[in-house]
């Protein structure tokens, strides 16, 4: 790891983030903490049926209740919307059909929440129930009315890079595995909330706990049929997001409409139960992976199939589908690759992006598959990975451009730290070690709606006393994006973090940032912040150089001063330089933008997967299993992450530790499951997540590869480190007990079942018969030709 602290004043240091003291004092204003004069409370009536035609909604009695100021039904908001341009299939309030228990149907605004609740009870509804489908297999086989359109298939894709069948024939060893990853949900501690205000001048403001205020802004304009210039969206600090607040939600549109109808501010805060229905969480995915290897463990070809259980609407599902097939080849050098994926509609809350979006499931499939292959080839699992490492500065067979790659370093760190190779063959009874690796995006290379504009923009305005106003559309969801922006600007301008005044995520005031999703903010908003700061710095240098009678390029900015590098006494305070520049040119401002390079490969479907840089991670997990109860306890985790450069190592380690925690919850206990069309446990009482007592000992290693395109060389940290942990747990359970749990989560009942079963395995045996579309065959990049 290169030491980054000497070169910089702020970058690379574990400094306290700018919003930390507000957070520890309870002063941070989350959306539900907002209260406006004359504010009303909104509530939403939701479907009690998983699949039904709406015959009649009668709101007369609700409207007549004293204290009720407005009641809405689907006809009040008839314009459809969706986060992806290709999936505009949602309605703020369902008009003809409901597609899952919890689908919004009607809404009320009242003077208090109790009255609003009472009014919901007075709305009379009649339904014609339809057969519901609750699994991948049922969705494919169903002969009843499809959930949307003419079939339950939302999206089916089939891509091939080179001739995989031909390459399989040249392989010495071919193995096929079928595994399943159950769905689970984000469970942010903060329930989604939105407050809308419609002012007398016809301007609408929405404060919302959203990771993607820009997309909410666009959807409000579309659904309310209002110009976006009359709408202001302010994202409030998110009390946890993890992907769960990156869609457009019914309550945001409904709160806005209720505010317009009543002329009074309206707040809607979801209950915890409603958060489970809002969902957009981890897709349940059934997968088949088939890989051909040479005798010495080199991959010849891979064929991967995924079946996604999408829930009732499209959401991010098209992207999710592609993501289940995209990052196989950024992690391993795969010469020939086929991917077939299908997302099916089911009568469940819609799935979408959760930390790792579409990639933890295939990562589980791949890393357990490789563990089995290593055993069959007589190689240790580390050696098998080392023989298939991707190259830095290369293109994958599916045309993804890799810049920096620290995977090998990550592997050595965790293998050495855990003494994996020495210990794994001699663990005490019930104890085991597992290993896995992964890669992830530093921001999606293409915007959700295709365009050539920047993905991130930052504006700076300096004041005469040396203060710096920083405006950016990015929203802090706890990951520390406010700190990253401030740190980068403070570093370039040579001022302190405290000198930076942040205004973020306000569509009236701040230039665009596409949102806190796809691990993009440090990389993209960071690059925009750096560009803006450099522009402003150059103006200050120009003014200062004139006064100091030297060249601008002799100057540096550091410690609130601008001075000659070789004669530090020749200089002036930062504020003096601002005053000189302002005297010459007026207000000192600067903007910076970041547009990722065009990286999509020459084939249809190439828009999902490209990123300006990939992070890499490796993990070793130690488990202690109880053969009598089937309980698996994770006692220790070693995780290494190629961060490019840590702008703030303390925040990076926080992201890594949080990712490991979330992975362990998914690996061992969290699942969003249903019975008779109903969510089995939409509450924190029964949806289990790890507590402080389950926290293992964790060793985090940061690997710095100084990526050439990242700001100061930085890459992502928020999602990648989750990925290797889940399969490492499964591999550790195998090491401990000799059983394969090919189905996430690894719950005690599955462990006991595997222990008592002849096959020593629990998991799916096959995938359903499904006619994938004809393969789109793409040429392989030059470096893979003839391999």
């Amino acid at each position: 790891m290169t030491q980054s602290t000497e070169e910089f004043s702020i970058v690379g240091k574990p400094l306290t983030k700018p919003d930390a003291f507000a957070k520890v004092s309870g002063q941070t204003k989350f959306a539900d903490d907002l209260a406006l004069p004359r504010m009303l409370y909104g509530r939403i009536l939701r479907s009690p049926h998983p699949h039904a035609r709406i015959l009649h909604v009668d709101t007369d009695r609700a409207r007549a209740l004293p204290g009720v100021l407005a009641v809405l039904t689907g006809d009040d908001l008839p314009v459809k919307f969706g986060i992806l341009p290709v999936s505009q299939d949602e309605e703020a309030l369902a008009r003809e059909k409901v597609r899952y228990v919890g689908d919004p149907i009607a809404a009320v605004a009242a003077s208090d929440e109790w009255i609003a609740d009472e009014a919901l009870d007075l709305i009379e509804m009649q339904f014609q129930e339809l057969p519901h489908v609750m699994s991948i297999e049922q969705a494919i086989a169903a002969d009843g009315e499809p959930i949307h359109g003419s079939s339950n298939v939302h999206k089916a894709v089939a891509l091939e890079f080179g001739d995989t069948e031909d390459a399989m024939r040249t392989a010495d060893h071919v193995r096929e595995d079928v595994v399943f990853f159950e769905g689970n949900t984000h469970l942010p501690m903060e329930q989604h909330a939105a407050v809308a205000q419609y002012a007398a001048d016809g301007k609408l403001t929405l404060w919302t706990s959203s990771q993607t205020p820009h997309y909410v802004h666009r959807a409000l304009g579309k659904v309310l049929e209002m110009p976006m210039s009359r709408i202001r969206v302010v994202a409030t600090p998110n009390g946890g997001g993890f992907g769960g607040k990156s869609d457009i939600f019914s309550h945001e549109l409904v709160a806005a409409k209720l505010a317009i109808v009543t002329g009074r501010p309206v707040k809607i805060t979801l209950t915890r139960e409603e958060v489970f229905y809002a969902h957009r969480g981890r897709h349940p995915v059934l997968m088949k992976v088939r890989t051909g290897f040479t005798r010495d463990g080199r991959i010849r070809a891979m064929q991967f199939q995924s079946f996604l259980d999408g829930g009732g609407y499209g959401s991010y599902g098209v992207a999710s589908t592609y993501y289940t097939g995209a990052l196989q080849a950024t992690t391993y050098a795969i010469p020939r690759y086929r991917f077939e994926g299908v997302r099916l509609f089911t009568n469940k809350p819609p799935c979408g992006p959760k930390r790792g979006h579409g990639t933890p499931q295939p990562r589980f499939a791949l890393e357990t598959h490789f563990d089995k292959v290593a055993e069959e080839l007589g190689l240790d699992p580390v050696e098998l990975r080392l023989r298939n490492l991707p190259n830095p500065d290369s293109k994958t067979v599916n045309w993804l451009r890799i810049t920096s790659c620290g995977l090998e370093d990550c592997i050595s760190k965790v293998v050495a730290g855990s003494r994996f190779l020495d210990r794994r063959t001699s663990m005490p009874a019930g104890r085991g070690l597992g290993f896995a690796v992964s890669s992830y995006l530093s921001g999606a290379g293409t915007a959700i709606y295709w365009n050539d504009m920047p993905h991130s923009e930052v504006q700076l305005k300096l004041d005469r006393n040396g203060g710096v106003a920083l405006l950016c559309g990015a929203i802090d969801i706890g990951q520390g994006s406010d700190h990253i922006l401030a740190a980068i600007v403070a570093e370039v301008l040579g001022v302190a973090l405290e000198d930076i005044q942040l205004t973020t995520a306000d569509t009236d005031l701040t230039p665009i940032d596409l949102g806190s999703y796809s691990s993009r903010v440090t990389f993209m908003a960071g690059n925009a912040a750096k560009a803006a700061a450099e522009k402003v710095r150059d103006r200050l240098f120009e003014a200062a150089a004139r006064a100091l009678r030297c060249d601008g390029d002799e100057l540096i900015a550091r410690g609130h001063r601008i001075f000659r590098r070789n004669r530090p006494v020749d200089g002036m305070s930062f504020a003096q330089a601002v005053q000189l520049a302002e005297t010459e040119h007026g207000v000192v401002t600067g903007t910076g933008s970041y547009t990722p390079p065009k990286l999509a490969g020459p084939y249809k479907g190439s828009g999902v997967g490209p990123s300006p840089a990939y992070s890499y991670s490796a993990a070793v997990v130690e488990v202690d299993c109880d053969e009598k109860t089937g309980e698996v306890k994770v006692t220790e985790v070693w995780v290494a992450h190629d961060i490019g450069r840590a702008i703030n190592p303390m925040l990076v380690i926080g992201q890594v530790e949080g990712s490991v925690y979330m992975a362990l919850g998914e690996a061992l206990m969290e699942e969003q499951v249903f019975r008779l069309g109903l969510h089995k446990f939409p509450s924190l009482l029964e949806y289990k997540s790890p507590t402080a007592l389950e926290a293992p000992v964790m060793h985090t290693y940061l690997v710095e590869t100084i990526d050439r395109e990242g700001p100061f060389g930085a890459k992502e940290a928020g999602q990648g480190p989750l990925l290797p942990v889940i399969p490492a747990v499964a591999n550790a359970v195998y090491n401990a007990l000799g059983v394969r749990i090919d189905e996430i989560p690894i719950t005690p009942d599955k462990v006991l079942k595997a222990l008592s079963d002849k096959s020593r395995r629990v998991g799916p045996k096959s995938v359903p018969v499904f006619a994938f579309p004809a393969l789109i065959t793409a040429d392989v990049p030059d470096e893979w030709k003839g391999k």
């Binding site: 309870g26 989350f30 600090p237 998110n238 509450s683 924190l684 009482l685 507590t691 402080a692 007592l693």
Partner: protein, 165 residues
């Protein structure tokens, strides 16, 4: 429920006596947030499972979402707004800020108050005692480790030597 049915509630919160007219079925959480504008106390689950709504009553952790204010007249209630001594943040608040133990900050008020109750009774807790004390408060961001470390740092700064984890 009409306004005429509201009842007067007298509470002592953060050392101040407060009186409000509220519907008698409102929970302490609702009264704190909606009637006293003490929004530092958060809600997470509505059924006493996540402890996000945790406050201190007579110095002990207490779930405000399950408590009726009328039952708490005469008791000493402490919320996050009352944790600092005037403008001086509590050592736990400083340690949480410095070590990055607050990511999104939503569970932080309850986590801090629960940790304060622990340190008030055991100024030099072991890692196991910290885990035990905080086990009821759910955090989805941090993986808890930085929280443990911050509690240990605050304990150390209170003049007690930190123990090896």
């Amino acid at each position: 429920m009409s306004i005429a049915d509201r009842v007067a509630v007298h509470l002592r919160v953060n050392g101040e006596d407060m009186a409000v007219m509220v519907a008698p079925y409102k929970t302490l959480l609702e009264v704190l947030r909606e009637d006293l504008a003490l929004t530092g106390t958060k809600h997470g689950c509505e059924l006493g499972e996540c402890s996000t709504c945790g406050v201190l009553v007579d110095g002990r952790p207490f779930l405000s979402c399950l408590a009726m204010p009328l039952d708490l007249e005469g008791r000493e209630i402490t919320t996050i707004e009352g944790m600092a001594a005037g403008r001086e943040p509590h050592p736990l608040q400083v340690a949480f800020a410095e070590l990055g133990a607050a990511q999104c900050g939503y569970c932080t008020p309850a986590m801090l108050l629960t940790a304060k109750a622990l340190l008030d009774r055991d100024p030099d807790p072991s890692r196991e005692a910290i885990k035990e004390a905080l086990a009821g408060v759910l955090c989805r961001c941090t993986g808890y480790l930085k929280i443990f470390e911050a509690v240990e740092l605050a304990a150390a700064r209170n003049g007690v030597k930190p123990r090896e984890p």
